[in-house]
């Protein structure tokens, strides 16, 4: 038994060096050389360009959503992170049961907020716009959730709905390889593109 204990400790030590130090460090090294943009968090700058590593100009990550409640931006999905939505240092879902009164109350408030920002819009509300994502950091909304917001953003920004829809299409990720997952719109990329389009519009007008 004592002999086995000694072997245990020695074997654990060797396996720790192999799987707990050499393996993750060599993977990091290779990842940083081959896929630096992805390995460092898919950062993008204000102009929507991909960055290979944080250089101070990062405006966000293409994979991590941000909270928007101004009518001129497309809104992300509700987030249950604390103390505020889209806290990317502490991910969490709401973990509320669908029948929990707190959940139904939260849904009602979200619908009210959407309707207040867009009076007169009586389309059915896409369900992903009023339910919290699993991570609290969902970077995407469904195509229906984007379409629901097109008229509001167009009106507030004074840009045609057609032009907004074009931007939505440009920032849509289709099903991967035509099959996998769901088609979605990247909210941060779309809003960055909107700001870019608006500033072009302004300088044209001036």
């Amino acid at each position: 038994m004592f002999r086995e204990l000694i072997i245990s400790i020695r074997a654990l030590l060797v396996l720790t060096v192999l799987t707990g130090i050499l393996y993750p460090l060599s993977m990091t090294l290779i990842a940083q050389v081959i896929f630096p943009h992805q390995a460092n968090g898919s950062l993008v700058n204000r102009a929507g360009q991909n960055l290979s590593s944080p250089d101070g100009s990062q405006a966000g990550s293409a994979l991590i959503g941000q909270a928007f409640d101004s009518p001129q931006y497309f809104w992300s999905r509700p987030s249950a992170t604390a103390p505020l939505a889209y806290n990317a240092a502490a991910s969490t879902g709401s973990n509320l049961a669908i029948g929990n009164p707190a959940q139904l109350e939260a849904v009602k408030q979200r619908i009210t907020k959407l309707r207040e920002a867009d009076p007169g819009n009586n389309q059915p509300v896409p369900i992903d716009l009023i339910t919290a994502s699993a991570s609290g950091l969902d970077p995407h909304i469904s195509l229906a959730a984007a379409e629901y917001q097109v008229a509001r953003v167009a009106r507030v920004r004074g840009i045609s709905e057609e032009q907004i829809r074009k931007l939505v299409r440009e920032n849509t990720t289709p099903r991967q390889w035509g099959i996998l997952g769901e088609p979605v719109v990247n909210v941060l990329r779309l809003n960055l593109a909107l700001d870019k389009a608006s500033s072009v519009e302004h300088s044209d007008g001036a």
């Binding site: 072997i7 720790t16 799987t19 993977m27 101004s70 669908i98 619908i111 059915p124 099959i179 996998l180």
Partner: protein, 595 residues
């Protein structure tokens, strides 16, 4: 069910089944000491581990020696992992300057990772440093999986050997599982995941400037950092504007790869594979889901090959696939609904229940994952099971309660199912009045005692554990939903811990001394009270002589036997758990949909 949903499920199942034969046959070669060309590449590593570890590779062990070696190894693993967490603050690679993990959380987490459960009471990015994640948790991700595979191989030798008193060498089986199977697959998967956007870096957390700053209310603090109170003793609130977002990153991909392949399931981040940095794209999701069932499925073929009759392996695989498909259909049907009140509020509910699900995965990829991760004792999640519809959440819970024998953990799933095979053979033998046999080995009293122990111990731990938990005063603080869902949260926690799954109804507040201790003990019970009887079984079977097949032998590869085996698994599981399920998800379903 839309055609997109069905197509994605069928592709998943097809790719999984296509991998079974090549990987299964490769693994049989590894355990029988026949090396392929790829194997030769890693051969020096195997030799080096034997030399540095002081391991005599040609030493054969009887079942007691095998069990002792396994237990000693996990004792060492527990102590080291506990200490790493407790001294985290003084150890390197800790850019977020996270302090020592609490004693009860360290205790729970150490047990959780050595038992291949990977139940997590903590949130990864707010609790564990890069060093702890890599050198503590990742290591146990490998070796706890390898230990499960080792014991399966010992049991297979029990069937394959005749009148032998040894069942192999634990150290050799452990090392080979790690070096030839888990490590190469993890390296390939890591790079695949990073290419899709899973992070792999040693740099500290990244700050980004928000496109739209947000304002929020927070309690105002005085100079000493205490909250300021008004005349009614209520905290004074002040409005602050948040301009930055901090992105938690780290060496995640290398851990996530083995977390899926080794049916561990412990997330790098709090929300596990729902986190975009842990599961970035649908392709990434597909690779991770495939890895969850890959080795458990392929081991069925390895088994068939090693006992010299691949039909036996296919029969077990078909058993698993049938239950898996049925469970997925049930879960998917349930999740296409949501609370009936939503439609009357003007919500378009056509796509189903999206609370706690990610837009890029949708309902279909969430339910496929939920079913796969609880069929296997993986426990990683890409959606929040706590927010599933009552029946949608019942399916994952029931799959765990079946004892994690439908795919199950790497190694542990198949040895669990083999225990059920022995029980089925025994009962079928009783019905027709013949001596029960399996693969030429007579099933006698000792084998039945060990099999009963292995089936009943985890079930007992679930029910007694849940009962104790709901009687503690702590329970009111732990559950975050009203009854009956609150009860489901506790039942899910103990089902998950005892069957070494590790997924959760994550709203259940488990990171407190009471639950950490209770769940820790239940995990130990659920792992080792199955493992040790199975090793004893391996020893007993190996020592038996071979009984030639006759006309009177019950064939164990036929549809009839598969049907019997499935009913046995379901009947045992259902008899034990239906009363508890009626109090939780079934009552909740009545409340939500009948009210």
């Amino acid at each position: 069910m839309t055609s997109w949903t069905i197509i994605q499920f069928l592709i998943y199942l097809a790719v999984l089944l296509l991998c079974v034969k090549p990987l299964g046959s490769y693994m049989a070669g590894v355990y029988e000491g026949r090396l392929s060309r790829l194997g030769k590449l890693f051969h020096p590593l195997e030799k080096l581990i034997y030399r540095l570890g002081g391991i005599k590779a040609d030493l054969e062990m009887n079942w007691k020696q095998y069990a002792t070696a396994m237990l000693m190894f996990h004792v060492a693993g527990f102590v080291v992992l506990y200490l790493i967490q407790r001294f985290q603050g003084m150890l390197p690679l800790n850019p977020a300057q996270l302090g020592a993990v609490t004693p009860d959380c360290s205790f729970n987490t150490a047990i959780s990772f050595i038992t291949n459960t990977n139940w997590q009471g903590y949130g990864g990015e707010t609790t564990m440093s890069y060093f702890t994640q890599m050198s503590g948790l990742t290591v146990q991700n490998f070796v706890s999986a390898a230990s499960g595979m080792a014991i399966l191989v010992a049991l297979i030798r029990g069937f394959a050997r005749k009148q032998a008193n040894s069942i192999g060498n634990f150290w050799v089986d452990l090392t080979r599982s790690t070096v030839y199977i888990l490590l190469p697959l993890s390296i390939v998967l890591t790079l695949g995941l990073v290419s899709q956007g899973v992070v792999q870096t040693m740099k500290p957390y990244v700050s980004v400037a928000l496109l739209q700053p947000v304002t929020m209310d927070q309690p105002k603090l005085d100079d000493q950092g205490h909250p300021v109170k008004d005349t009614d003793d209520q905290p004074v609130m002040e409005q602050v504007t948040i301009k930055e977002q901090t992105l938690a990153v780290g060496p995640a991909a290398s851990q996530i790869a083995i977390k899926e392949l080794g049916t561990n399931g412990g997330g790098y981040f709090n929300v596990n594979s729902a986190h975009p940095f842990e599961n970035a794209t649908p392709l990434c999701n597909f690779l991770e889901m495939l890895s969850i069932l890959l080795i458990p499925a392929a081991l069925c073929y390895t088994f068939g090959k090693m006992v010299g009759d691949t039909r036996q392996g296919w029969a077990l695989l078909i058993t698993m696939v049938v239950v898996f498909v049925a469970a997925w259909v049930g879960c998917q049907m349930a999740e296409q609904n949501t609370h009936p009140q939503l439609a009357s509020l003007g919500v378009d509910t056509a796509v189903g229940n999206m609370e706690g699900k990610e837009a890029r995965f949708g309902v279909a990829n969430s339910t496929i994952w939920a079913t796969a991760t609880t069929c296997a004792s993986n426990g990683s999640v890409n959606s929040m099971h706590d927010s599933y519809t009552p029946l949608g959440g019942l399916i994952p819970m029931l799959l765990m309660q079946l004892g994690e024998v439908i795919f199950g953990g790497v190694g542990s799933g198949l040895y669990g199912l083999l225990v059920f095979v022995l029980i089925t053979v025994f009962i079928a033998g009783l019905m027709v009045g013949r001596t029960p046999e399996y693969l030429g080995k007579k099933v006698e009293a000792f084998e039945m005692k060990m099999s009963s122990l292995a089936v009943l111990a985890p079930a007992l731990a679930v029910l007694v554990g849940t009962a104790i938990a709901v009687m503690t005063t702590q329970i009111n603080a732990s559950i975050c939903n009203p009854l009956p869902h609150g009860f489901s949260q506790a039942l899910y926690a103990f089902s998950s811990a005892s069957n070494n799954n590790g997924s959760a109804f994550a709203g259940f507040g488990a990171n407190n001394p009471t639950m950490n201790l209770l769940l820790g003990l239940v995990m130990l019970l659920g792992r080792f009270w199955v493992k040790i009887p199975v090793i004893a079984l391996a020893g007993a079977l190996a020592s038996k002589k071979y009984v030639p097949t006759t006309d009177g032998t019950l064939p164990t590869h036929t549809p009839l036997f598969i049907g019997l085996l499935i009913s046995m698994v379901l009947i045992v599981g259902a008899l034990i758990f239906i009363p508890a399920l009626a109090l939780g998800p079934i009552a909740e379903h009545m409340e939500v949909f009948a009210g």
